[in-house]
Amino acid sequence: MTANGWFQILFLLGVILLVTRPLGAFIARVFNGEKTFLDPVLRPIEKLIYRLTGVDEKREMSWPEYAIAMLLFSVVSLVVLYVIERTQQWLFLNPQKLAAVPANVALNTAVSFTTNTNWQSYTPETTMSYLTQMAGLAYHNFTSAAVGIAMAIALIRGIARREMKTIGNFWVDMTRGLLWILLPLALVGSLVLVSQGVIQNFKPYVTAHVIAPQKVTTTGSDGKPVTQVVSQQTIPQGPVASQEAIKELGTNGGGFFNANSAHPYENPTPFSNFLEMFLILLIPSALTYTLGRMTGSQRHGWAVWGAMAALFLMAVTVAYWAEARGNPEFSMVDQAHSTLQPGGNMEGKEVRFGIADSALFATVTTDTSCGAVNSMHDSFTPLGGLIPLTNIMLGEIVFGGVGSGLYGMVVFVIIAVFIAGLMVGRTPEYLGKKIESYDVKMAMLSILVTSFVVLILSAIAVVEPFGTSSITNPGPHGLSQVLYAYASTVGNNGSAFAGLNANTLWYNMSTSAAMLLGRFFMVIPVLAIAGSLARKKTAPPSLGTFPVTGPLFSVLLISTILIVVALTFFPALSLGPILEHLLMYAGKAF
């Protein structure tokens, strides 16, 4: 670990802290329908959208109406994406003449992008046409993020409102999220990315005549080695920057290329790398301020932010430390840090990012539900890989996904005040609202569904041949690969221990189911909580009220999260990454 590495980590957190308040306050204004400086440009577009789609922006919805609108939109846009994938060979903007996406991959991908997961079982540069990438995949990067923001805002309204039956209008919340928040940030972000070298064009792939032709030996169809001279390199092109910006900003994470944000055309420089991490954390962090602002308890917003920042620092410390140590089983190799090299575990990492930026990116992308990667998590050291896996299992609530991080965290807040209520023997309260059995049941439902799905599907996959045949790393790491796949899809993260061959019928279908359950069994209980809280009276705080502000509350919240997740996943983790760590230092290989 180096001083510069730590400086980069703290610098990122510092910049995020600086923008949390202004952006959080702006988001609150947008969803309260107050005036903003963007109104002259965006208000006419907004009105036009409502006219074309038949939305009455004055109409308020109850929580079931809100949920139904959200579900209908998700289903319709999912179907449209599926149709685009299956018909891309007849549509425009397909200079490579790519064929239709196979049915089970197309379905998996449609589910994946609609649920903000961006799990990818295909190789994008040889599967998806430019039209599919921009109008299908990047489009869903916008809308799935906007849906997430809308859900978070609906929940915040539920907490803030008193004795009301409604929690807002889904169509209005989604449209305003798209226009006022995502569009301007994505536009600016994508242009800064182009300035660093991220490509943005519609040209066919370029053939380069390489500087030094290479002799390569491959195994021919008859099993004998075939030697050939490779003198050309095909360099893929495409509208990458416009997708890259919203991929990070919307915590989506679906790469334009197979190597995702490790690809030099997606993430060419250390500064583009910083910008991408900044975009990932930006909105989730700001939403904590929005929570404080809209519920009238700014200190509660900061207490939540503080808990997130503490969990973030714990995770990145372990990941950075583990990756900087390297692999004790490599002999003859210099893994020590010096002025000439960062050293450490460089398998599956890029030189321009080194160890610090790779460990940091891995933490950022799994603290949130992003899932973009600038290094290969599968090749991380066992403890380095434990961190992304655990981050996802925590429910991606450390800043978290756009919207989903906040509502996931509020679910844990409800559990935390419930536990605190039990300890002092009073009815738990949250910002003046009594937390009753219905609310706690809904909160527990959303937590249990995810762990249930991860563990059951992993259990099936590690005993049945259709599951184990996809494992590419033997020993305990194989279990980690499977656990990661289901944690990532249920958590709507989308990153992977990518050695696992996920493009099989079993994995395409089971991960699709995991993504749908993870998204909607989270969102619907959350909306139910929103509806329930909105109907309640607000009671003034009394002596028996456990305060949801200050460091004491942050510590209680962190403890609740760690205990719930440790109790659920520790046995599985001890058989995967923890066992692998012990065996690696005992000199074992598989």
Partner: protein, 208 residues
């Protein structure tokens, strides 16, 4: 319900046109006004022919060039197969591969510790950079193969070493293509030295 379904349908169409079509077109137009070369891939041309991109790495296996990192993209630096080995740290295949690469390099430059980035696969398989340590390690071999002094090679490496961006971001690095192109321009190789070295030709890609 029926009304909401109609809204969902039209909302999908209208927002697809706005965010799926118009937005990327606007970004493309502005990008080509502001940064045309970068938007088109930072391509390197020689006599009008594209010979690569500054950002996309290429394989170099002849001893007179600086080697780039091992690549698992197809048969090595295949632009259509970006990606890595995804081997775990306790996977014997990884440990063996690292050992094989290290033995080859040790034979070419005995006694020096081997920088880790020269024996490990990059994440993209298209990493255009090596660390200054990896460049330093290769200076004696390249100088020997080209029949020039180490100081001459070291001067070129120094010229192509990039520090941290803005002094803080990322890690110091050396762009392999730029360095090798400059090397060819300044100290051209005789034909025999320029042919690919037979033994060391295959860069990974065997298991995928």
């Amino acid at each position: 319900m029926k009304r909401e379904l109609k809204t969902a349908f039209w909302m999908t169409i209208v927002t697809t046109i706005l965010f799926g079509i118009i937005y990327p077109l606007v970004v493309t137009a502005i990008a080509h006004v502001l940064f045309p070369a970068r938007a088109d891939g930072s391509l390197i041309r020689k006599n009008g022919v594209v010979i690569g991109s500054k950002l996309i790495g290429q394989g170099f296996s002849s001893a007179g060039y600086f080697y780039s990192r091992p690549s698992q993209a197809g048969t090595g630096y295949d632009g259509l197969s970006s990606g890595s080995s995804n081997w775990g740290q306790t996977n014997q295949q990884l440990i063996t591969q690292v050992k094989n690469y290290a033995e080859k390099l040790r034979a070419e430059n005995p006694g020096e510790p081997i920088p880790v980035d020269l024996v490990t696969d990059s994440a993209s398989g298209l990493d255009p950079d090596i660390t200054p340590a990896a460049a330093d390690f290769q200076i004696p071999r390249v100088a020997r193969e080209r029949g020039i002094s180490e100081a001459q090679v070291r001067a070129l490496v120094g010229k192509h070493t990039e520090g941290r961006q803005f002094g803080i971001f990322g890690e110091p690095r050396v762009n392999v293509q730029s360095l090798n192109l400059d090397l060819d321009a300044a100290y051209p190789m005789t034909h025999s030295a320029a042919t690919p070295a037979g033994e060391r030709a295959s860069w990974g890609g065997s298991n995928r």
